[in-house]
């Protein structure tokens, strides 16, 4: 078991090393490695900051055309199932935000015109807070929120 772990660790660091060298020597622009992972948005410590960084605006318009499915009480904050469904037309992206996490933005989903306004995943929540779904459509940010009570936080520590 320890042997196996060592092996994966070795493999991991070797792979990381190789990428590092490739990036360093300019063979591989960082952009091609990851299309455009919005680092600053994921590091932002407030909802406004995260949205400004992610989509360039933070003004939210409440909408009743978005439905969030999440438990009222999550016993384990490390695994909170969340799904977002919307009937708004022309959805460009859906973002899922846990308001009181250290870094509130959990994930963003860029949807092609063929995709429907629906995503489901499982997120980590550090404490009881509002889960906010932000739907970008036609240059406007539509949003709705749902309170989730967290019994045991799931962000480490």
């Amino acid at each position: 078991m320890t042997n196996m772990k060592r092996r994966t660790l070795l493999k991991g660091s070797l792979a990381a090393g190789a990428v590092g060298i490739a990036v360093g020597s300019g063979l591989l622009a960082p952009r091609t490695v990851l299309a455009a992972w919005p680092k600053d948005a994921f590091k932002a410590t407030s909802v406004d900051e995260a949205l400004n960084s992610l989509v360039g605006q933070s003004q939210l318009e409440g909408s009743d055309k978005i439905e969030i499915k999440a438990p009222d009480i999550a016993e384990n904050g490390a695994v909170v199932p969340v799904s977002v469904e919307t009937t708004i037309d022309g959805v460009e992206s859906i973002s899922i935000i846990a308001e009181k996490n250290n870094t509130p933005l959990t994930s963003a989903y860029i949807l092609s015109p063929r995709a429907e306004g629906f995503v489901a995943t499982r997120i980590k929540m550090s404490e009881t807070s509002s889960v906010i779904a932000v739907v970008k459509a036609g240059g406007t940010l539509h949003s709705t929120g749902k309170e989730v009570k967290v019994t045991i936080g799931g962000c480490g520590g």
Partner: protein, 104 residues
């Protein structure tokens, strides 16, 4: 890193529902090793891309706040039974995996 993805894509009417489970540690970089007190470095999937007929239908951008062994589901239109669907992920250490599946 073989076989980290389990995927199912099912057509109903004109809508294909995709459900995927990825095995990944999704380490936040905030946890400490309880014995040594050292911070465990972040290791999480940053991007999941799904393609159908060479066209990206969905790109998920993830932070470390997605649960360990992530689950992802979404829907899209315009596919037919038997079409090939590709799903791939890349994490913050540059590791990646991909899978192809036929829409059922």
């Amino acid at each position: 890193m073989a076989n980290t993805i389990k995927i199912r894509a099912r057509l109903s009417g004109d809508t294909t529902t995709v459900k995927a489970l990825i095995s990944h540690i999704m380490e936040t970089g905030l946890r400490k090793n309880s014995k040594t007190g050292e911070t465990i470095p972040a290791h999480f999937i940053q991007e999941v891309v799904c393609e159908h007929k060479g066209e990206t239908v969905m790109t998920a951008q993830w932070g470390p706040a997605i649960s360990k062994n992530p689950y992802l589901s979404f829907r899209f239109k315009g596919a037919e039974k038997g079409d090939t669907l590709t799903l791939r992920w890349v994490d913050n250490k540059g590791e990646s995996d991909s899978i192809e599946t036929k829409i059922a």
